[in-house]
Each structure stands twice: as structure tokens, then as C-alpha cells.
Symmetry: C2
């Protein structure tokens, strides 16, 4: 079976008018603000309009530890949403907005794929309604105001060596990771070490994703800590009088974006934090609207269950007060084979032929990762469902091997063919999810607010990652002490680590044990509301590869986009 390109499928999909899509969510079409013909923003009045309605089932889609190629979490999310519709459930999907950095870098777009996409995919993968750009603009206004404050006399006595607020761009640009700014003459600022992160890693992005309202967003922006005074006291965006203007810049961005799937299921697209260097979840506001506008809301969290799902449970749900009813774990034959340690998968290169040969033994040899990620969902009192995301190169014996593991763990399992078949291909999965979601729910967070920061880090490291302990670089230990002293100890933690392993070493596959989580640095995202330990060599600004995707993207003679995938 040959499947057309994602872009061709997206273009040939008959779109339903967005007012009708809004009505599927029980939303008055007057709450929409159209952006072009195929995307609309939803006014925040929708939260109140739906407040009296019962909440639908809330389903998270997570995954085993992925290969660098990704295992199809977004397509599964979309396919599951479509299949639930086919089962007669009013369903909705909530996903993140892709970053243009990876779109033009190595990854390509992130709209799902095949017959389980968010459409039009080129709108999703490019500017959408400009929310990413608003984050960039608000973030960098604060950056400029920090340096301007130094330049104009530094009334707050900010210590230039302790400024933690960097700048951001939504571009993969390694050249900007470490810079010296403020060179030139007296009129050109003050020389200091600085740098840029990608917009997806901005605290403003996390604030957008975690705010419950425009007012909450404004207050969180004010609480952002940009660095420390010479006295050691934290300096905030509020003290710099920047937070009001930042909120004005973010005033439209806080409204979720309404799109649809290839089968016209409503999709809310909102916020785009990465899942390794940020909390990896779409917005609280979108979920609060969609969970009351549907019987089943399906949302995804970045990378494996140790990454986005852990933050979904312990950060996002802590902020929203929402309780998940089930969690899907996407597993693929290729990723489990990779976890056997017998094959090497490299981004941007074809899969090795040996990996494609029939081998249920390789699948079973990599199953420790699946077992551990199942545990990670259960740790939070939520029922997992294993979704086998089927590829044309899979063999039935390999699917049977995954089913065997799931059954040994006592977990529901289904093969899903949503990529090639759309919602029809995910019906078995949807039925399993409905069963799981209707079970009694014992959702719980992994630690209380009152635990100290080291306890929180160590809880996640040992219980979720399977580490035997945590080590702290001296600077990280000092930072943790400072944060406790400054009253940030009540915050949850968002651990930045590789998404390619349960551990902090991307080379350790399966379910590594007997390793120690090395905390190199700790940042405080006080506005977003978490403390942010960085483990190992994590980069908050990606680079481009030898042949960036951008080189193949162009307009054809009719002005249509080609090469975007």
C-alpha cells in the first residue's frame, strides 16, 4: 500500500467549516476569531461558557523511550481521537504547536502524519496564529529591559554575573548558544556573557502553557526571576516593570487555536514547550475548554513516559486541577528492537536492514523499556494502554511479542493502523482506552508541594528514571540551597535530560539501573512555577544538520509549498 505524502493528504482533505467544528465542542461559533479560513482562535470566555458542563474523560498519550526518529505519538493521538468519534464518543484532541526550528532543521513538521494529521499541516507547521512569535517578542522585550536597566544606572543593583534571563529565537542556531553581547562603544550596552535558547525552551512558553487565565498569565509573568541583585535577592520582571507589556504582547496568544483532524475531529493547538528541555505539554487553558467540550479529550505529552507524561501528572495537572482517566503508551517494533541494544538508529539515516528483519526475540530483548514505562504510568495511579503503532515493515510475530509483554504486565494492548487507515485503523485501541478510562481512578501526584527540592528530584530520579541516586555539581547544590532560601522550594521540578534514554545518558537503552543522575545546573522558572534541573549535556538551543530540511523546502511555480513533511 502506497500512502501519499503528508502534505498531499493534508491538501486533499475536505475541511469542515470551523464554526461547525466549534459546535462539536459545544462552543458558540461567536467565540471564534478566524485566522485565515482554516484556523481560529477561541476566546477565553469559552472557559466560563462550558463551566457547568460535566468534564469528559481525559486521556494522555505518552510513549516508550523513542528512537531519534520518534515513534508516532502525535499520529496516534490524532488517530485515537478519530477512532473515538467513530465509536460514537464526542471526542477532541489537544496538541502542541510545532517549533519552526526543527521544522526547518532535521525533524520536519509535527502535525501527525498519513491519515491521522492535524490539517492544514502547513498552517500548523509554520506560523499558525503567531503564538510562538509572541513568546519570542515578550521574552526578548524583557531581555532588552534587563540590559537597558544595567545601561541606565542599574537602580535595582542587579549583579551582571548573576543574570539568568537569556534571549530566545525560534530557529535552530547553535552560533547563538554562547555569545558576548554589549560590545562596541559606551552607547552600545555593557559587555557580558549571554546567549540564546530556542523559543520552545522560554519560560514565557511555559507560562503560556501553564496559565489558567489571562490574569494568571499576567501574574506569572511578573513573578519571572531574571537574576539576582548583588545582595543575593531575586529580581523579577515585575520589579523591572516589564510584565505588563509582556502580557499585552501575549494577550492574543493565550487564546487556544482551533483546527481539525483529517477526519474533522476538533483539535486544540496551543503552546509548544519541548519535552526534554521544557515541560513538554500543551496548554492548561486548551484542556480546560476541551475536556468540558467533549466526552473524550486526547492529549499528548512529549517523548517517553519518563519525560512529558511525568510532567503532565506532576506539573500540568497540579496547575489545572484536572485528573487523567487513562494513558496510552505508544510502542513500536523498531524502538523496542533498538532498546535491545542490537541495532543503532540514527536520525536522518535509513533504518539498518538487520533491524527490519523479522525478530520477535529482539523485540522481547528491548521490552524492559516498555515494562518500566508501564510502571511509570501506574506510579501515578493511572491505567496504561499499550498502543502498537504499526509500520508496514513490522511482522505479526513482533506484534505478538509486544502483546505478550503487555499481557504479562496485565495491561490492555492494541495494534493501531491509524497512519494508513485513519480512525478506522485505531478502533481496537479506542475500545481499549474506553475500558481503561471507565475503570476507577486513583490518580495521584508523585510528591507533595511541601517536599524539599532534593527530595522531589530524587523521587523522580529513583522512582521514574530508575536511577540509584542523584549527584549535584557544586553550582547546582548552591542553586538549590538558594532557591529553598528564596521560597521557591514549594515548586515542582522539571528535569531537563535526554529523551533517548530513561537515564541521562542517551547511549543507555532499555531500562538502565545502577546509574546516578548528574545534576549539572539548576534554573528557577518561578513565573512558570517550577525548578528546572539540567542533567548531563542538555542543549537549550539546537543546531542545524549537514543538510537542513530547509534546503528542500520551496514554493512551486503556483506558489504552493513543496518539500515540507
Amino acid at each position: 500500500m502506497s500512502i501519499p505524502s503528508d502534505l498531499d493528504i493534508s491538501r486533499s482533505t475536505p475541511l469542515r467549516p470551523l464554526p461547525e467544528v466549534a459546535e462539536q465542542l459545544g462552543l458558540d461559533p461567536g467565540l471564534l476569531e478566524p485566522y485565515g479560513t482554516d484556523v481560529a482562535k477561541i476566546r477565553l470566555e469559552a472557559v466560563d461558557e462550558l463551566a457547568d458542563r460535566p468534564a469528559g474523560r481525559y486521556v494522555l498519550v505518552s510513549a516508550i523511550t523513542p528512537t531519534p526518529l520518534g515513534e508516532g505519538k502525535t499520529t496516534t493521538t490524532v488517530g485515537l481521537g478519530q477512532a473515538l468519534s467513530r465509536l460514537g464518543k464526542r471526542s477532541a484532541v489537544a496538541v502542541r504547536q510545532p517549533s519552526m526550528g526543527p521544522t526547518f532543521g532535521i525533524k520536519g513538521g509535527a502535525a501527525g502524519g498519513g491519515y491521522s494529521q492535524v490539517v492544514p499541516m502547513e498552517a500548523l507547521n509554520l506560523h499558525l496564529t503567531g503564538d510562538m512569535h509572541a513568546v519570542t517578542a515578550a521574552h526578548n522585550l524583557l531581555s532588552a529591559m534587563v540590559d537597558n536597566h544595567l545601561h541606565k544606572g542599574n537602580a535595582l543593583d542587579i549583579d551582571p554575573h548573576r543574570i539568568t534571563w537569556r534571549r530566545v529565537l525560534d530557529t535552530n542556531d547553535r552560533e547563538l548558544r554562547n555569545i558576548v553581547s554589549g560590545l562596541g562603544g559606551h552607547a552600545d550596552g555593557s559587555p557580558r556573557q549571554a546567549g540564546f535558547d530556542i523559543t520552545a525552551a522560554s519560560e514565557v512558553m511555559a507560562v503560556l502553557a501553564l496559565s489558567n487565565s489571562l490574569r494568571d498569565l499576567r501574574e506569572r509573568l511578573g513573578r519571572i526571576v531574571i537574576g539576582y541583585g548583588r545582595s543575593g535577592a531575586p529580581v523579577t520582571a515585575e520589579q523591572l516593570r516589564a510584565a505588563g507589556a509582556m502580557a499585552v504582547i501575549m494577550r492574543e496568544a493565550i487564546k487556544p487555536n482551533l483546527m481539525q483532524t483529517t477526519e474533522n475531529t476538533p483539535v486544540l493547538v496551543h503552546a509548544g514547550p519541548f519535552g526534554n528541555i521544557a515541560h513538554g505539554n500543551s496548554s492548561v487553558v486548551a484542556d480546560r475548554i476541551a475536556v468540558r467540550g467533549s466526552e473524550y479529550l486526547v492529549t499528548e505529552a512529549g517523548f517517553g513516559a519518563d519525560m512529558g507524561a511525568e510532567r503532565f501528572f506532576n506539573i500540568k495537572c497540579r496547575n489545572s486541577g484536572l485528573r487523567p482517566d487513562a494513558a496510552v503508551l505508544v510502542a513500536t517494533v523498531r524502538a523496542l528492537k533498538a532498546h535491545s541494544g542490537r541495532h543503532r538508529v540514527v536520525a536522518g539515516k535509513p533504518l539498518p536492514p538487520e533491524l527490519l528483519a523479522e525478530s520477535p526475540a529482539d523485540v522481547l530483548a528491548g521490552a524492559a523499556n516498555l515494562r518500566k514505562q508501564i510502571d511509570n504510568i501506574r506510579l501515578h495511579g493511572v491505567s496504561p494502554v499499550v498502543a502498537i503503532n504499526a509500520f508496514p515493515t513490522d511482522h505479526p510475530s513482533e506484534h505478538a511479542a509486544i502483546r505478550q509483554v503487555a499481557e504479562e504486565e496485565g495491561v490492555r494492548v492494541a495494534v493501531s493502523e491509524h497512519f494508513g487507515e485513519g480512525g478506522k485503523g485505531a478502533l481496537e485501541l479506542a475500545e481499549a482506552v474506553v475500558e481503561a478510562a471507565e475503570e476507577p481512578n486513583t490518580f495521584q501526584q508523585l510528591y507533595p508541594d511541601s517536599a524539599d527540592l532534593r527530595t522531589k528530584i530524587e523521587t523522580i530520579a529513583t522512582k521514574v528514571y530508575g536511577a540509584s541516586g542523584v549527584s549535584y555539581q557544586p553550582a547546582a547544590a548552591r542553586a538549590l540551597d538558594d532557591y529553598e532560601a528564596n521560597g521557591f522550594g514549594e515548586l515542582p521540578v522539571c528535569i531537563a535530560k535526554t529523551h533517548l534514554s530513561l537515564s541521562s545518558d542517551p547511549a543507555l537503552l532499555g531500562a538502565p539501573s545502577e546509574w546516578v543522575l548528574p545534576v549539572r545546573e539548576v534554573r528557577a522558572s518561578v513565573g512558570a512555577g517550577f525548578v528546572y534541573p539540567i542533567c548531563g549535556d542538555m542543549r537549550t538551543m539546537p543546531g542545524l544538520g549537514s543538510h537542513p530540511a530547509a534546503e528542500s523546502i520551496d514554493l512551486d511555480e503556483n506558489g504552493e509549498i513543496v518539500g515540507l513533511s
Copy 2:
């Protein structure tokens, strides 16, 4: 008479539905793509749809050399458009999109003011439809691809010391003017001197403004020169395989934005190059649509007639093939008094009380600037009309003094009260403009394509600026020789100089003579299609002041914007 704030007037204006506004332009409402309720993009099919209609009169609004406060060119443009409607002419207005840098810096918004505004002003002054952000993203993708090319082996043998392509942000951030990028380790790029300009100064912005179609935009992006190889040959965006992706990023931005004035006159807002460090004109595409969609299209060009108007005639009209029918010169009592040299006007401070005292003598003492700017319009074969932009603090004797100067020069003149009265206050001006526009037209450019670059620079310097000659720094002279050798000699020139004087020294008021234009540096914007000499201390990245406007901008308890002006 007390006039409410611009924001209050904007909010209380009854808006006409945009499909009706489009119909005023003879456009099928199906050509609109709504962005929110009060802004729409116009599909480029509009150019062809209107191609058979006769072109309306094309009126430029320029000004005498302004004070740092600005002399109300945008309000006059809007007021004149409104007044022409009241005279029974189907009129339209075309203006630039403001930059968020100055909006949050010292200047505040740029939507006009009082009862002659583009509304809703907060949409105009903030993201609008994201075109500025698209320019930033496209520009910085190319920047990242330049450095990535160096990092990945430098197959094109680019000389790192001769990279002319910088990065951009739409933020006033002096700290980024001069940086060293690529610090860190081997994986973090290559250390080199670099820097950021404001987005309004990006060559991509100039490409957006000067392109005649999407295809033209794509080709111009490919011609952008990012620097030179070690052999001395220019290296283009096409060679880096970046231009296709840049065009994809700009694919929505090339569509002009439709808004309306406080009296529901159609306004096309498109592109935002500054008038001192860039060519200072809104887009060719917008004008090509609006000039056939109206009987009178009124557009403005940045700063005084030596700046934006000169580029309008010699760069923008050269690109579009359109011919202007009249030009308005906005003059104010306060600016002419300042040109007397007897008063000092400082941005962000109240006017000195002596300047406000009745003094037609001071006005006459500053009139040399008005006379020279009248000449500058006539040099291009276009009829000037002097618009006295009235302020409540003006005295009748001072208006009479301006009238006297205009009459001595044989030029039509009118007092305009559009700020306080809307179109009704600009009727006298509109009548004078209609008379001038109906006169025979002898429009001509100041130099042919075939003149060499030094001749072009010297023609503008001596004929328009009143310089006695031009001096070139050695680097500038070498660059000009290189550009001629590389085949860029056919391009027009866009001279970056202060807008606060006809000369390159902001302290020289009136109409200075016996001075020499110092060309410090020359850049080539080959994609946009001009060579860009920089004279004196021109900054392509502004800074913030001691009290940035951002400090006063916030949301109120209802989520409405306050403090934006």
C-alpha cells in the same frame, strides 16, 4: 477642546465589517482572509482581478524635516483619505506596519492619532497578522544557515570576515548591536564578530515591500548576498539553498492587510521599513491593489521629503512602475520654529515654553527647510501641496507665515485640523490635493539605472540634501568598486542618514549648505535591489530610553490594554 486618548477613540469607533470595506475597493469579499474580526489579509489574486480597472490618482504624503516628536504624517495621510471620501472620491490609504521596537520604546504607536487613526490601533501597533515576525524568522533562518554552512565544512569557501548578513529582532536592544557569537566548544559554532539589527532594517523587509508578486519575492530572496567568498565573489541565499524556505516563511506575509480609518476609509497596511535606515515605504503590492481599487490612493513615506519621498520616487516607483500625481508636504509651526535654530526640541520632554509663544518670525526663520523640501518634490516633476498640520497651541499669525512661504514658492497650501476633527478638518487640504493631482504630470526619476553608484549618491547628496559634495571612507570606496565589479552598479541607492536634518548632522537645522556627505560604509541589498550607503553615525538597532514606554503598558482588571499610545 479636549480630545480623548488615541486608544479610547480607537475603541469607541464603530467599525464597518471588512467585507464591506473590501467592496469599497471593488474587491470581492472572497479575496479576504480574516485575521480576528477587524483585520484581514487580501489574497494576491486581487492584483489580477483589478488589472483592467483604470488607476486612480496616487498621492504621496511626505513632510518637512521633522523634530524628534514627528510632525503627524500618518494622521495627515489618514485625515486626507477621509476628507477625499467626504468630497465624494472613492479613496484608500496605504501605510506601513509599525515596529514593536519603538512601540515599546520611546515613540509609542504609529497608527495616526486623534480622529484620524487606523483602527483598531492596538492590532496595528502589536502583531497585526504577523508579517514582521515572518520577516524576523525568514531573516534569521538565513543567518543560521550561513553559520551552519561554516560549521559543516564551508563548501562555498565563505570568508568569515566578509559575512555581511547579520541577525534581526523587532526589539529595541542596543546590547545586541555588536556581539561575538559562536563561543563555547567545538559543537557550538565558530567564534566571530556579529550583531543584530532591528527587523525594520532587514533586507527581507525591503524585499517584502518592493516585490511585485510572490514569484518576484522568491527570486529576490535568492539574490540576497550574505557575504563574499575568499575569492571575493558574492555568496547568495540561493547558493545556500535557503531562499525557498525563506519564501515559504514569507508566503502569507506578502498578502497586504486590510483595515480601516476612524471614518471607515479602507487602509492597506503592509511592510514596515524605517525611513532613515531603510527605504521607508509601504509595499508595492498594496499600492498596486489599492491604486486600481480607488479614485485616490494616499500613501506616506517615512520622515522628510529628502528621506522616504526620495526613495518613493527613485526606488519604490522604479520597482512598481506606478507614477505619483501629487505630493503633500506636512509642515508644523513647531518644526519650522525648531528649524530657526532658536529652540531645542527633545524627544520625550515637553516643548520649551518659548517655542509655544506666538512668533511668526520664528516660523519664517525656519522656512528654508520647507522651501528646500518643496524643491525636492518638484525635482521629481510632481506638484507639492503644503499641509499645515494644526496644533491647539498654534497662532493664526504663524499659519499665515507658512501660507506666505508656500505662496512665495507658488505652491498650494491648506491648514488641516484632521487630528481633532477627522476628515472634516482636512477638506481644504483635500480640495488642494485634487487640484494638484489633476495638473499635467511630469514625474521623473532623478537618475537612470545606468549611472554609476557614485554618480547616484552624489546626485541625491547635491540635488536633494544640498550637500556640496560627498566623501568616502576607504572601506566605503572599496565596497563601491567591488559592487560595480560584481554588477550591482545598475541598482538605485538608498542612503541611510539622520532624518533630523537635510544633512547628515542632526544638529544642522533649516537647509544647511557648504557641507560634505560622509559615506562611512556601504552595504549591498541585492535582493531588495538597492545599494545602501551609511552616512555618519547611523544605528541599525535602536536602544531603549531611561523610561521605556513598555513600563507604562499593561492590562487592566478586564484584560484590556492600558498605556498604549
